[in-house]
Amino acid sequence: MANRTDEEFAAFVRDHSPRLQVIARGLCGDPHLAQDLAQQALEKAYLKWGRVRRADDRFAYVRRILVNVHHDRQRRRPWREQVTEHDLEPHGPGPDVPGAIADREAVRAALAELTPRERAVVVLRYADDLTEADTARELGIAVGTVKSACARALGKLRAAPGLSEVREA
């Protein structure tokens, strides 16, 4: 049984841990902390793998653990949060071009200025394409709160100076 659990879990980690790290990165803004958050969430998932296995959507179950881990960390150690340190190196090789990197960094810097709730809403809505209802369920808040937080966040992002495009006229 333990072997079966371990094999299933290892496959889950292989398939989904990159995506979990991306979401964690969006939530916390720090690539190293994101790795820690994803690892903590997966540790918790392993310890209750029986429940994860029975879930309709295993990834959604673990993603919710990840969001809760992030919230717990913020609640316990708000003075520890450091979301403004930028990672200028993209993860892994990719077809990225300098303009796209700069754009990503500008978006991240703007995200760092959002409140934790606004950031969580935006990340779940746009990084993982959750509906407003799913986002509300994931965060344990009302759909109306998701809508208002999202609208506020987008307003802030539109006004962020780093998010004005620079083009040759």
Binding site: H91, V107, L163, S164
Partner: protein, 217 residues
């Protein structure tokens, strides 16, 4: 000439920025090991609480500050009970899970007793410093995790109970825990189990210098 255009489609840019190149997958074996160890540590902490102990797991005590009085008199948990309550501050920082500081309190000007070959020298100012090594996480109390470089300080009352040795068992085999401080009636004994062996359930006991079991859960 450049002109700046306001961003008109933040949703799309958000999607593109958030869907970055995914990092590599995490190491499942390391996560499984960490999860099991964390579970064992929690179970041990629960068992230890029943025996009046606070168990520190997964880190290493890296500095002990002995007060002037204690430094002059020396204080050793292996020696007979200290005549008066002495205070020492202890702090932790990242360290190897396989290294422990000896149960004896350090004596100024002398090498403190060590476990696992880890040298611990007391400086003239009363501090003894152990070079940190190993994973950058140190659990300094039930559920508390210190980040690299973080310092947590305890005021430890060294009293007669510092002479006791803490042990824990998963199954029939009793394993030693390092006592890093002894409690007054108001403060629990602080014991250190860097990497709990086994998966629980755990039993915890304190053993007096004469070998008698002082307290068990």
């Amino acid at each position: 000439m450049e002109e700046r255009e306001p961003m008109t489609d933040p949703e799309e840019r958000l999607r593109m920025a958030l869907r970055e190149e995914a990092p590599p997958a995490l190491d499942a074996d390391a996560i499984i090991h960490g999860a099991r160890r964390h579970r064992a540590a929690r179970r041990l902490q629960v068992a230890a609480a029943a025996a009046g102990l606070v168990v520190v797991t997964g880190g290493v005590v890296t500095a002990v500050n002995v007060t002037d009085q204690a430094a002059q008199e020396g204080s050793s948990a292996a020696a007979p009970a200290a005549p008066a309550e002495r205070r020492a501050d202890a702090s932790t920082s990242p360290g190897s899970a396989h290294r422990t500081v000896g149960p004896q309190a350090p004596q100024a000007g002398r090498d403190a007793p060590v476990v696992d070959g880890l040298a611990l020298r007391v400086r003239a100012d009363g501090f003894c410093v152990v070079p940190p090594a190993g994973p950058p996480v140190c659990r300094t109390g039930p559920g508390a995790v210190a980040a690299p470089g973080a310092t947590r300080r305890w005021v430890i009352h060294r009293g007669p109970r510092a002479t006791h040795v803490a042990q824990y068992a998963s199954g029939d085999r009793w394993l030693p825990m390092t006592v890093v401080g002894a409690g007054s009636p108001d403060e629990p004994l602080l014991a250190y189990a860097p990497d709990p062996v086994g998966d629980g359930p755990f039993r915890v006991r304190q053993v007096a210098p004469d070998g008698s079991v002082a307290r068990t859960d």
